[in-house]
């Protein structure tokens, strides 16, 4: 392993994390602005022009607030839980392909941190680990609201993770690889010279729909935000958290939303593919960002529009509707793959 490879990797990691963390901060602002517009308000507009410095103000507030600790028999778990929630969320960005490769300083540089042949499984493994932060926060807080939020969250995440995983199998059958870069490459080109060969249009519209619904549930967002339903559970698993620890949960939630949106783009919307990418690979990054932004918009739009599910509705919907549909999609994809040869 030469020095150059190590330096390149470190530089890429630093750049990706800088961009991602900045995006997360502005995603929070974007959400508040958009919610404001949808509800005919202005949204935050006091700090800086159009409220653009609001994330900075929020950050300072979180850092300087008092860290209130509940009396709990598990103070260490209480402190570790937000970290357990944040770290897997940030680790997902290691395998997400933001673009193809470019020439820079006479060497070929890939626009993703790494490409591993089990990339997709790695992501599912991380999403499985993310549950622990929430569940342990609920347990360690020593509060009934937190405990109920944590329990609900465990049941909900396990149920919807099944659908999330199974909805992707259709794509895997068509591509034949777990490598996210391979999956994006398989979606290049167009159909009849007009419709792009994305999996969304290429036999997987149902898979896409299932994936997106399950992803909304996995990230605990409206209409599936029962773990933090404020009308019944105060704030769910993070009721007892304040200051920096609360900020970690907050960032983890947005990191998950961004990661899932990026993953949906990669799997179903062709990732960096778009017109002119072959000649100018850097353009791919902008296509990728634009497609991801569509998902982020839908996320916030859902939040502004839909009411929350009841708990039994949530479970019935997950197990009796989404899961059978996911199986049907697998059978359909296999049939297509078998007839196509």
């Amino acid at each position: 392993m030469g020095m150059g490879v190590v330096v390149e990797a470190v530089v890429k990691i630093v750049i990706v994390f800088g961009i991602v963390l900045t995006c997360l901060a502005y995603l929070a602002l974007f959400e508040r602005k958009l919610l404001g517009w949808i509800q005919l308000r202005y949204g935050p507009n006091r700090v800086g022009p159009w409220g653009l410095l609001q994330p900075l103000a929020d950050l300072l507030k979180f850092l300087f607030k008092e860290d209130v600790r509940p009396t709990t028999p598990n103070p260490i778990l209480f402190s570790v839980a937000p970290i357990l929630s944040l770290v897997p969320a940030l680790m997902t960005y290691a395998v997400i392909p933001f673009g193809d490769r470019i020439e820079l300083f006479g060497r070929e540089i890939t626009l993703y941190i790494t490409s591993v042949n089990v990339g997709l499984l790695y992501l599912f493994a991380l999403s499985g680990l993310g549950i622990y932060g929430i569940v342990l926060a609920g347990w360690a807080s020593n509060s009934k609201y937190s405990l109920l939020g944590g329990l609900r969250s465990a049941a909900q995440l396990i149920s919807y993770e099944l659908t999330l995983t199974l909805s992707v199998v259709g794509v895997l059958i068509q591509v034949g690889s777990l490598d996210l870069v391979e999956i994006v490459r398989a979606q290049s080109g167009t159909y009849f010279g007009l419709i792009p060969k994305w999996h969304l249009f290429w036999y997987q519209p149902l898979g896409f729909l299932l994936f997106f619904i399950a992803a909304v549930a996995e990230t605990n967002r409206v209409p599936f935000d029962l773990p933090e339903a404020e009308t019944e559970l105060v704030a769910g698993y993070h009721t007892e958290y304040s200051a920096t620890k609360f900020a970690m949960f907050y960032v983890a939630e947005y990191a998950n939303i961004l990661a899932v949106s990026a993953l949906a783009t990669t799997l179903f919307l062709g990732g960096w593919n778009g017109p002119g990418v072959e000649r100018l690979p850097l353009l791919g990054v902008f296509y990728f960002a634009a497609k991801t932004a569509i998902f982020l918009f839908i996320y916030i739009w859902l939040r502004a529009t839909l009411p929350r599910f009841r708990y039994d509705q949530l479970m019935r919907f997950g197990w009796k509707i989404l899961l059978p549909l996911a199986f049907a999609n697998i059978v359909f994809s296999a049939a297509v793959a078998a007839t196509a040869g």
Partner: protein, 162 residues
């Protein structure tokens, strides 16, 4: 480099396993097992079994252990009090037997003393495993699916009865 990683993962696994044994609270034991599973996934990667390493985290850590945590939280199990066992002498027999078992296994292990594991093997490629599963091992695979179906039915029946 590889040896250093091995030592880190192995020590983590063993220390965490001791925690599974020594902790009083079931929740702490379960979390210690989580650490063991993670360290084992690291060892699998060192052995070139990438697919299994990921599956290990997805199935064991992501599903099975979460179920354990769920049950611990649902029943609100407290730390077990150190009460006397029904037959106290059995407790003192456990340690010698454990040592005996360990010694026995180590004796067997010694026969493989000098053989290094080839590093960077690529046998763990997902595609190869999938091919084997659906050709050579198709029958066991299908039998396993029936086993899981029975397990689901069993769990549902038990849950209904309570």
């Amino acid at each position: 480099m590889e040896r250093a990683l091995f030592v880190i993962f192995a020590l983590t696994a063993i220390v965490a396993a001791l925690n599974v044994l020594l902790r009083r609270h079931p929740l702490h034991s379960a979390l210690a097992l989580l650490v063991v599973l993670g360290a084992l996934a690291g060892l699998y990667i060192l052995l070139g079994a990438y697919f299994l390493a990921m599956i290990q985290v997805v199935i064991y850590a992501g599903a099975i252990l979460v179920l354990f945590l769920f049950v611990i939280m649902l029943l609100n199990i407290r730390a077990e009090e150190a009460r006397l066992a029904r037959r106290p002498f059995l407790r003192w027999l456990a340690l010698p037997f454990a040592l005996l078992l360990g010694a026995e296994i180590f004796y067997l292990v010694r026969t493989f003393e000098e053989n290094p594991v080839p590093s960077g093997t690529s046998v763990g490629v997902t595609e190869a495993i999938g091919r084997e599963l659906f050709t050579t091992y198709l029958l066991p695979f299908e039998v396993t699916s029936i086993l899981i179906l029975i397990a689901i039915l069993g769990a549902v029946v038990l849950a209904r009865r309570g």
